[in-house]
């Protein structure tokens, strides 16, 4: 502190300009070095988000500022309330299932000897690696209203055909199934990494204390994985809420709009129906919901980190 003060004093006396002093500051250099990143975030995140907010305040022809009127109209639309409900049902149930299946798979993998583990890990990651638009097309062929291959197999065993995409609840179930199939490997790999970082001594101590399998899970594994579970669930919830391709390819929001989620409805309203401001309002609607959720999750993580340190 005193050294830098001396340099500054010396700088002033030796005729160093204020610009030179400014550029020599550590904070300035740090800022300059992060400038490319700031520019990328500004250009690819802040600007589009700001522009979307601006668009949502315009009228349909984008010629007049109408404040929050587009949001008020949306809240007066039955279909939009349905979209809110469906987005929540879709995201919450899909994330919950992905977390449970991922957790179970991670444990299964963790118990496989290291030699064979890599092979299984690779195979289980395949759904997550295939581009979802492509894999969803495969699922669509299996669910096809008239020529479903799953129905063909069911019929072989004398089970009647299931209207996978034609009946609202089956259609909802179908999009959730595909999302879980696609996303569960991500949870699996994250939980597997977390499991591997749990010190073996804790399990040994628990075993000496006579803990059952469930007690080891409840009092050792889960507390040690709490942060990674929170972060993974938060991340997945954001991604699932914003999901577009699965619903678009599989049901296009049908039947009767009963599988639309925010992103597909925003596309239908904004691009297909030519009402860009209202489409922007739809897509911005999930932002406050997710921001509140993210705030609480991240606050919990920070608190636990502080307690541990």
């Amino acid at each position: 502190m005193s050294a830098s003060g001396a340099t500054m004093t010396a700088g002033r006396t030796e005729g160093v300009t204020s610009l030179q002093r400014f550029t020599r500051r550590r904070s300035t250099i740090a800022f300059l070095m992060t400038l490319p990143l700031i520019a990328v975030i500004g250009g690819l995140v802040v600007y589009p988000a700001g522009y979307a907010m601006y668009l949502s305040t315009l009228n349909r022809r984008m010629t007049e500022f109408i404040g929050l009127e587009q949001f008020a109209i949306l809240l007066d639309t039955d279909t939009f309330w349905m979209v809110i409900a469906q987005s929540c049902i879709f995201a919450v149930s899909a994330v919950l299932l992905k977390a449970l299946i991922g957790f179970w798979l991670a444990h299964m993998l963790h118990d496989i000897p290291a030699k064979g583990q890599r092979k299984w890990r690779g195979m289980l990651l395949v759904p997550w690696v295939i581009p979802p638009a492509l894999s969803t097309l495969g699922w669509w062929w299996m669910f096809d209203p008239s020529y479903s291959s799953i129905n063909y197999l069911l019929n072989v065993f004398a089970v009647p055909s299931v209207p996978w995409l034609g009946e609202p609840w089956w259609a909802r179930t179908s999009v959730i199934i595909v999302n879980v199939w696609y996303g569960a490997p991500f949870f699996m790999i994250m939980y597997l990494a977390a499991l591997k970082s749990v010190p073996e001594q804790l399990y040994e101590a628990a075993a000496i204390d006579g803990a059952t399998g469930f007690q080891r899970l409840r009092y050792v594994t889960l507390p040690m994985m709490r942060n990674i579970i929170s972060i993974t669930v938060l991340f997945s919830l954001i991604v699932t809420f914003a999901n577009y391709d699965i619903v678009r390819v599989l049901t296009n929001g049908g039947p009767r709009d009963l599988t639309h989620v925010f992103a597909t409805y925003a596309f239908q309203v904004g691009i297909l129906s030519g009402n860009v401001p209202r489409g922007a309002a739809v897509s911005l609607f999930m932002f406050p919901l997710l921001a509140i959720f993210a705030f609480f999750v991240l606050r919990g993580v920070t608190r636990r980190n502080k307690e541990e340190s």
């Binding site: 109209i73 007066d76 039955d78 209203p145 008239s146 009767r256 030519g274």
Partner: protein, 453 residues
Amino acid sequence: MAQGMTRRDMLRAGAGAVAIAGGTALTAPAVHAQATTTLRCGFWDHWVPAGNGIMRELCAEWGRNNRVDVQVDFITSVGNQNLLTIAAQAQARSGHDILSFPTWEPSAHARLLEPVDDIVGRLIGKYGPINPTAEYLAKREGAWRAIPAVSGSQHKPSLARFDLLQEHAGLDVRAMYPAEDRAGPGVDQWNWATFLTAAEKCAAAGFHFGLPMGSFTDAVDWVGAFFRSHNAKFIDENGQVTVRRDPGVRAGLEYLVRLARFLPNDVWAWDDASNNRALISGRSALIFNPPSTWAVAKRDAPAVAEKCWTFPMPAGPAGRFTPYLPYFWGIWSFSRNKTAAKGLLEFLSDRTSADRQTTTSSGYDIPPFGSMSNFDIWRTEGPPTGVVYNYPLKPHHQAQQSIAFAPAPAEIAVQAYNQAINTKLVARVAQGGETIDQALTWAERELRNFARG
């Protein structure tokens, strides 16, 4: 040069010639000269593979004759890529000079489109009136904002298995609508009541009519034409929502709920390919579609294709209406080559070019002029020969083109169209178990909100 002309004189003369040619670039053919203008066109990527080739050929031909370098891109409508391109270029005020605009886009971007009344006026002078549906979609504030295109424009009339209709419903559609300019016996009975009876009989025989009821265009289009033939207006021309008190809507809805009982139980999830597959696979007796289904059947299921026949839609109390889904060619107002663009579009719209486009697309492309409904391809295409003779509207059909939700103001109608309010109305009653009044109340509220903001 050999006769005393110096190199300097030659250059001077050449520069003068270029200046003259530049001033009359669009009128003076200069086959060997260099192009001075570059025109960028984004046309619709045609379903029929040869459809792109003819557009490229026509553009090159016009470019050569007018010393314009015409660059052609083909933009697919798969995944709505063309809509995204249009939206992006409209936002950026930059991109192609000419774009193909799907049905509702000219009115959505009317303010950014160069008026083309001069070209349309000349074309109408030569070929007669353009159909009213195309005019409704392309004309804004008294000006034509785009030219109804040949390439990509389609009708969706009845396309049926004549053998199945004759065997199970007693309808001889080839006799009713032969490949000639005359109506046959039974045409006066070809209405929605007869259609319902035929649907019931064919369903009983295991050959359901393949009528989609989802949210894709095939569904919205045929249901829109059906309601139009019942004089049903969801919204009137002034933007007033009339759906709940319109007797045509109620009567049409009651009919469609009855009809739905004879359709496959999964039609609520059908997309634009499902009805095609139903016909091609031999499961269905009738669909509403352009001849592309027949063309695929000719390749994949020739036995089915040989028994297909295209004929007009059934008539309703207000007349006979055929679903029509036109494309438009528009010039952005920010284009720097408007004169050249207009020249090219006029060339693409003339009868010879239209004939070449339609012929190359095996009859799929429908020109906007009634006077162009007699191209040879519709007479000769087969088997069976004449299968698509009645695909374009002929005077003896006594039919008109229709687009769902017309005559509502286009900016409201487009929202109702793309959100499939008409098919969802039917689905709410027939599949969702709502009463007609409940469904109409829902539709009224949705439509009112489309008009707000």
